[in-house]
Symmetry: C2
Subunit: 345 residues, 2 copies
């Protein structure tokens, strides 16, 4: 074997075997169930499929101290990857709002169809590209419940002045119909509800709610309206992405996709288990739908807020219309399939 | 560099770069939409993630001439991989029935939760292992409609003697309630329905039904009961699997998983589009639910048939009970989340 050949062989071996060490920052605290499992599953899968060439270190919020700084830290390159939720960046980049879950919007599988088949992925990249970022679906927490209420909501009057922990866009909708939305740190939620600082709160769904104990002090559990399929996100620094060879790009993208799907499946299973436990332990929980009048008022408020956003920004209008059109089409099918099946069984 | 080192280097390069050429047989004809896309997507993804080390050749039914011979051809090693549906093997291995979709059973996402979190994968491998096979979910065609009927079904009397194309286990249920199930080749379905050889038929859902034209001659389109989430399967010859290095095993398994998820997402999108087109072109289609009396009679017949199977085989009982228990738990959650949301919107 000639020395030149050896040199070439050695070089190509080196390129094929080069290890990429990436750093990921997640919004969640260490070992957060479901959300934190998604990042661990992703890193493990990327490592195994790349035969060790992708090494991903995960820093949780206790390490980087900036749970809502993921966007900036990945944009700047301080971290290569992030795991968070798109709607957290609404104050910074308003159009990021649309890629988590919208009130009265698509459910999880409908929204996946929009992302992958209805133009959603392209619109998401259009929003993130100017910030040196790529964004991918990061796993779904399943339908979120409407929250825990101390008193039953019988009409829109019962919402007037009601103090509720409900942050973000859903909070704006709630304010528009006369309630008083607020945000409170997770560790203070139970006490705030117990002492009457708030009258109601929304958290996630049974899997996340059970350990919080809200059912002990606010027995009315309202069904979903504001987050029918909350998707998290994987963020990637574009310069990091461009440095990866093609096979590692596709391995990483696939690891995101499988981890996202697995998180959704895990959330369904965890919600089913937790709801079953809740019902057994706390038979006094009262599941309620908001009355039709309340729902139609909140829906109108949602549409008005969206129209305000659309009128200020052509890209916002494009996204809002894409979602509305896709929802109308896919819900037509959901109604004669899923809805009919569930109502007949 | 010593010669021994060069030899080692050369050897490890060779092992890392070894190409595995696998042959896959699919039940479907060439270029079948959705089903055939799943195998192509899987092969492309496995190739890209392995940097070309996994080369998968796909033979459609026109090539191997044995659409319902996939189980045998993969078991014997004539093919390394297969793409088909588990319930096709019921006549050969009765317990394969339970891994596609069951009447009055779990919907797609509920069933994925059972597969991946509720013990379903383990039970499926227990059924396939004695046949030198591994089986993985292969993509879902979404909820299947109850079928096209020339006349409305108003009571169980209307099913007596009704000639319907409905094969497999659902056909057995239909027979038990007094109808006359039959199977007819796809190419003869339209003519059989037109000429009255059959009174009704079930096919898949809007995405597959639209081009068949049944809506022109049988205007009653019944909602789902018999296949609420039809899963296909990837089959793998166990000896082929054991020969693959660990990273290619995980790449192949991941490619199955992503292709399966993508097929489900594609089916949702295609059903939504096709249903929207159907409604616009054929406004006389009448969507109907079977009356409660008919549904409860068919449900009872299903339970009786399952009890017969369980009483003959402990493994059948284990699977049937696992599914029933998981369904009860997960449906409790689906009812307060998905069902409530759809009924409120």
């Amino acid at each position: 074997m000639a020395m030149a050949a050896i040199a070439t062989l050695s070089l190509s071996l080196h390129a094929a075997e080069k290890t990429f060490r990436l750093k990921l920052a997640e919004t969640w605290g260490p070992n957060t169930p479901i959300l934190g499992d998604a990042t661990k599953n992703m890193a493990k899968l990327a490592n195994e499929m790349s035969n060790g060439r992708l090494q991903i270190r995960i820093d949780s919020a206790n390490k980087h101290k900036a749970p809502l700084g993921i966007f900036d830290m990945v944009k700047s390159g301080q971290y290569d990857l992030g795991h968070s939720s798109s709607y957290y960046w609404k104050g910074k980049v308003p159009n990021t709002l649309y890629f988590s879950s919208m009130p009265f919007g698509m459910m999880t599988t409908e929204q996946y169809a929009w992302f992958y088949r209805g133009g959603g992925m392209e619109l998401m990249q259009e929003v993130y590209a100017p910030h040196n970022l790529l964004s991918f679906p990061g796993g779904n927490s399943d339908i979120q419940m409407g929250g825990w209420f101390k008193k039953e909501i019988k009409s829109i009057d019962d919402l007037q002045g009601l103090k509720m922990r409900i942050p973000g866009f859903a909070g704006e909708v709630f304010a528009k119909v006369g309630a008083k939305p607020t945000n409170i740190a997770p560790g203070e939620l139970f006490t705030s509800l117990e002492r009457g600082t708030i009258d109601a709160l929304e958290w996630v769904g049974p899997a996340f709610d059970l350990r919080m104990g809200f059912q002990k002090i606010a027995p009315f559990y309202y069904t979903a309206w504001h987050e029918p399929g909350s998707e998290t996100q994987f963020l990637v620094n574009k310069k990091t992405w461009d440095k990866l060879p093609a096979d590692l790009q596709i391995i990483l993208e696939t690891a995101f996709r499988v981890a996202a799907f697995d998180m959704y499946v895990q959330a369904i299973d965890a919600n089913a288990n937790s709801w079953s436990s809740m019902l057994a332990e706390y038979p006094d929980i009262k599941v309620r739908d908001f009355p039709p009048e309340v729902l139609s008022t909140m829906r109108l408020a949602t549409e008005q807020l969206l129209e305000e956003q659309a009128s200020q920004d052509p890209l916002a209008r494009k996204i809002i219309e894409s979602q509305a059109n896709y929802l109308q089409k896919v819900r037509g099918w959901t109604d004669i399939s899923t809805k009919a099946y569930l109502n007949n069984n």
